[in-house]
């Protein structure tokens, strides 16, 4: 294939722009990486440099040894992964029903799901707190998981039901002809076909819970139960004073699990997003 000089220069321009855009996107992460290796004096330089002049692991030591980062990360992982799995188990059959049943209840259910997304958190936190208190679930991970589950379910349902609609009903009809019931169809036909959608939903729920701050702030007291978002907030003090070095080191370490999970299930995610985008 012959490439003209004009096309070649166009291609070079495109790649240059792409590189600049990627640098723009990655810059906050690079800056965080740079800050995490800087000592306290270097952090308040008037003209900061990207490369630390005297790199130090002090911020990482501080984050890991003195601030319980690993324990908080384990708490976050535990809460986020359990919520993600429970959300999938609840959302798959519910989404199947919502997508396939066209009655009034189904429509009202979808309306309620949309409506429930419109309540600000601050409005529900006090009643939620009282309910959980009556259930002795305040200051427990079980209470937090239940809250996250309820909080993430509407969007999960909304997403999954659009995936279910993308599956041709003829597949189910064929199975019914062969004598399969609804549960068998859900387990053997719908669930496997929903794989990419399930991954997307699980990932969405996991990331939401991993980053969530407000519910954890209100519902958890004990230092042993605190999640990463609570721990990171403790690096920010009064009147804008921030322990920037340890915060950057902790935040960087905190992003690693999300990055790994994304890397691991990226292919499912791409397939899932495409599957959700086009209705069959």
């Amino acid at each position: 294939m012959i490439v003209s000089p004009r096309q070649r220069s166009m291609r070079v321009g495109q790649y240059s722009l792409l590189c600049l855009y990627m640098l723009f996107l990655a810059f906050p992460l690079l800056w965080m990486l740079s800050v995490s290796f800087k000592g306290p004096q270097e952090l308040v330089q008037l003209h900061p440099h990207v490369f630390p002049s005297q790199p130090t692991f002090g911020n990482y030591t501080d984050a890991l040894e003195h601030n319980g980062l690993l324990h908080a990360a384990w708490n976050s992982f535990k809460v986020s992964s359990i919520t993600a799995i429970l959300a999938v188990f609840v959302a798959v059959p519910a989404a199947y029903v919502l997508a396939r049943q066209q009655g009034l209840i189904s429509k009202a259910g979808m309306g309620w799901i949309l409506l429930s997304q419109m309540f600000p958190l601050i409005l529900i936190i006090m009643p939620l707190f009282l309910v959980l208190k009556d259930l002795h679930a305040i200051n427990t991970h079980i209470g937090l998981i239940a809250t996250y589950l309820v909080w993430t379910l509407p969007f999960s349902l909304w997403m999954l039901q659009s995936y279910v609609r993308g599956i041709p009903p003829q597949l189910e009809e064929a199975a019914m002809v062969d004598g399969a019931g609804r549960l068998t169809i859900l387990r053997t036909i719908i669930a496997p076909l929903l794989g990419p959608g399930i991954v997307v939903v699980a990932l969405f729920v996991f990331v939401q819970c991993w980053n969530e701050f407000f519910f954890a702030l209100v519902l958890l007291d004990s230092p042993n139960l605190q999640t990463l978002s609570l721990l990171l907030a403790r690096f920010v003090g009064i009147e804008g004073i921030v322990r920037l070095g340890p915060l950057a080191a902790s935040a960087l370490l905190a992003t690693i699990p999300s990055l790994l999970i994304f890397a691991f299930i990226q292919r499912f995610l791409t397939r899932g997003l495409l599957a959700g985008a086009v209705k069959g």
Partner: protein
């Protein structure tokens, strides 16, 4: 996919077991009183001091065990309010004098009048007790721990080279002297003062007390906001320093106190006005050999500043108020109070604790200057008013910021402040 799902379920089950076993409260043994202490200490030094105090108490008092509930320093009010309303408050709560009036009036904080030991009462000056005393109906609902002032920090090398003599606690700078020094130090693109005024309300109001500005006055049974001559004095002084003298860097109006430190450390400005706790930042962040000092509080007609001490209170919900008070008295004995204050560079409420801090520090001069402010701390009227917090956040802070950015005239500022107050107070 199936493998992935199975693995995920296995992880979930393991984690569920862990979650189920993670219980909030320590187990209660027979005859042992378990107390919780909700505290927002956040500087590593103060966290270590608080942990040390609690650990030593627990070792020496096996029948009363205390556990710490950490609270995010920027969400203290919300966290406490939720736990009070939900009936799950900690027994002992760490807050500040300006934040406890609403909790007191709602009945969430216990009257500590009869619980406070006489020795503790005698150690803390009356001016600080006044900030936590809500009269006959509610009594004293907090014990002051430590307080802060706003001070001038200076780059001593720049002052020396300009031939400016540093003030002393017996001979503090007046505002006129401060302005003159700031003007003299402004040259070649450098400013005399860097002043982070992103959240200016507390600074403006407390420094206004130098001229007796109380902002809120009881008139015909109502707390009104009045921006009279004393209040206008601090406003016009700050505004003039920025725009007439041009000795204060206008860029600082949009920055937090700590955000102007790079300029200060780089010698781009010779002085900065900060909360005295910023001394800790000077120690940990200033470049090697940087010669800094914290000056005594500035003097207008007086050196008065608002006393807004951090406090320890007992929740009304607590079933063990006497035991909670025992712990508070222990945590705030002179030695422990000195440890807490030294960590945060805040001024201890007790004069004897202050002496201990001065004895134990390398920054003798600055600490002595910090502590010299205690007799000039007064209770400000606004601290006890319930609508104050809302007015401060919604009206005062944006209006003061607009005025200091030269986007609002003094008259318009006064109108906004007064109308806003009337609207919120109702």
């Amino acid at each position: 996919m199936k493998k992935l799902l199975r693995a995920a379920v296995a992880v979930a089950l393991c984690a569920a077991l862990g979650a189920a076993s993670a219980q909030a409260r320590p187990s209660t043994h027979k005859g042992v009183v378990n107390l919780t202490l909700a505290t927002y200490v956040w500087q590593p030094t103060t966290v270590a001091a608080m942990n040390g105090i609690v650990n030593s108490w627990n070792k020496t008092h096996p029948s009363i065990q205390v556990s710490i509930v950490p609270v995010d320093v920027n969400s203290v009010h919300d966290k406490l309010l939720t736990s009070f309303v939900g009936g799950s408050s900690a027994d002992i709560v760490h807050d500040e004098a300006a934040d406890i009036p609403s909790f007191t009036q709602a009945g969430y904080l216990a009257n500590m009048n009869s619980l406070i030991p006489a020795s503790l009462k005698a150690e803390i000056p009356k001016t600080l007790w006044n900030t936590v005393n809500f009269g006959r109906k509610y009594g004293i609902t907090g014990v002051p721990i430590m307080t802060q002032t706003y001070n001038v920090f200076a780059n001593m090398d720049l002052l020396k080279s300009a031939g400016i003599k540093a003030p002393t606690s017996t001979n503090p700078w007046t505002w006129a002297q401060f302005r003159a020094a700031a003007k003299k130090l402004t040259s070649n693109g450098n400013f005399g003062v860097c002043w982070g005024l992103k959240s200016p309300t507390a600074t403006i109001q407390t420094l206004g007390l130098n001229w007796g500005a109380q902002w809120n006055y009881l008139q015909k049974g109502k707390w009104n906001l009045v921006v009279g001559a004393p209040e206008q004095k601090i406003l016009t002084t700050m505004h003039d320093m920025i725009y007439s003298d041009q000795s204060v860097d206008p860029a600082g109006v949009g920055l937090s106190g700590s955000a102007v430190l790079p300029e200060f450390f780089a010698g781009k400005c010779a002085m900065t006005v900060q909360g005295n706790y910023q001394a800790q930042g000077m120690i940990t962040q200033s470049p090697k050999g940087f010669n800094w000092a914290m000056f005594p509080v500035l003097k207008g007609d007086t050196e008065n500043q608002a006393a807004d001490p951090q406090t320890l209170s007992i929740a009304t919900q607590s079933q063990h108020k006497a035991e909670a008070m025992q712990f508070i008295a222990y945590a705030l004995n002179n030695s422990n109070m000195a440890k807490l204050s030294a960590g945060d560079w805040l001024i201890p409420a007790s004069a004897d604790a202050a002496k201990l801090v001065v004895k134990s520090t390398n920054h003798y001069g600055s600490w002595r200057n910090a502590i010299s402010a205690v007799p000039d701390l007064v209770k400000a009227n606004w601290e006890a008013l319930v609508p104050y917090a809302q007015w401060k956040a919604q009206i005062a802070t944006p209006a003061f910021r607009s005025y200091l950015s030269n986007q609002l005239s003094l008259q318009d500022l006064i109108t906004q402040l007064v109308n806003g107050w009337n609207q919120i107070r109702g």
